[in-house]
């Protein structure tokens, strides 16, 4: 609902109706696009399984990226930060972000480990190597089409873990009897107590 056309640098005269229509419909389309990303659950089992299983790409073995694996979750969470970098990122950039997410210091998170992660991402097409640039030291990884993961997959893979698995209570709590049962089993300690007056509690 547009209550003031000047919000969008459009005049109020009726001749500007077409410009206003374009703005309104673009907002609707964008909203619909966002909603389709969020609500279209058809990720496709093939695409999902493709991440889980190891596969051969051009004769090279790419190990699996298992859903729920803390290392994979940390990797995806860190990778999102590099989505919009036109010059990509290096091994060390990724290591600095992944290390705190996995509870390690940057020194403990070895370079070979990150190399392994980058390799399996690269073989699956989630990152690609960009040609070396004179001003940039070392090899840098860039994203194909400036996306880390297909937009349908990324939020599901990451948010499913965060929303559906992480908030669950630990097993020790889950096996406890419910509060309702506890209440039925033992009467409240205050059930038979006489109410104390306010004066009695004050010195």
């Amino acid at each position: 609902m547009i209550n003031d056309t000047c919000d969008f640098d459009v005049g109020r005269r009726l001749k500007n109706l077409e410009a206003l229509k374009a703005i309104g419909l673009a907002a609707n389309r964008r909203l619909l696009g966002v909603q389709r990303i969020s609500h279209d659950c058809r990720i496709g089992i093939e695409r999902f399984d493709d991440l889980h299983a190891s596969r051969l790409v051009d004769g090279q073995r790419a190990s699996s990226l298992r859903f729920g694996d803390p290392r994979v979750q940390s990797l995806f969470a860190a990778l999102v930060a590099f989505r919009l970098l036109p010059q990509g990122f290096a091994n060390r950039d990724l290591r600095e972000r992944v290390a705190p997410l996995t509870g390690l210091s940057v020194d403990d998170c070895h370079r070979n480990r990150t190399t392994h992660d980058l390799r399996r991402l690269r073989l699956r097409g989630l990152v690609r190597r960009i040609p070396p640039h004179p001003s940039l030291p070392g090899h840098r990884q860039g994203h194909p089409n400036r996306l880390v993961l297909p937009p349908r997959l990324r939020p599901r893979h990451e948010t499913n873990h965060g929303r559906r698995l992480r908030p669950a209570p630990p097993a020790s709590l889950a096996t406890r009897p419910s509060t309702r049962r506890l209440r039925q089993r033992s009467p409240s300690p205050l059930a038979g107590a006489k109410p104390r007056s306010l004066n009695a509690t004050c010195p």
Binding site: D4, R13, L14, G24
Partner: protein, 275 residues
Amino acid sequence: MRFAADHDIDVVRFERHERKDDRTRACLRNFEGDEGVLYVGVAQEKARVVRTERRNDPLRGPYPWLVSSTAMVNHYYVYLVDDDFGPLFIKFCSHFPYNAKLCINGHEHLKRQLAKHGAAFEALDNGIASCADPDLMRQLADGLDATKIDALLRKWLQRLPHPFTSADRAAGIRCDISMLQAEFALTQVFDRPVQGRVFFEEAMRENLDLGRPDHVQLIFDRRVTKRTPTRHRTRVITDGVIPSPHVDCRHSRIRSRRVASDATTRKGAPCARRR
């Protein structure tokens, strides 16, 4: 009032908090013919008016001065049925400068046009569920432009009492149309009530994230900083048990609300439609 008496048109004084749409819907059911005036409604509302006040000049003495203020004045709602636009209304303010508001519904215009072209369609209260010829429907929807709206107003101003007298118009006083409010609806129809509920609950979850200004930028393509005037906010308003997300950007707003598809769902059961 004289116009209503001459043409045998009902004049209704709206009660406080009365839903005008309900009354109009009842009148529409009894209306016969392609176009005409349904009835005239009178309501007292707050309006921006121009008044004169007495000022005093020490040398020349008292003189009148025009000031802008607000006042509770009578407004005359003329509810019409147009051959091309379907039901609409024009609201005339009875106080100077005699503002008028034309309220049309693009969906009603589209329904009329589809019927004229003989295309089969399934109509909703405020929308169209399906159409046998979607291309034609798109073409007709795009055909609603400024020229047609302007012609509509001119046509009815010729038939209804004009706010300006003939002497005013001879003196060069003209009226022009400006857009006060525009609403672009995104009607989504679900085949099963549960799908609507699931969709809406997910939409609520996603819209909660819009509280961060950088997410609002994604929608409006506008940089929102501390110096940007007016408010930008995301609200979740609970109306009864049905939540409704609102996103405000300056004076404009995106809001989502579920509309029941039948009497059963209106009473609180899961709804099948979201607009």
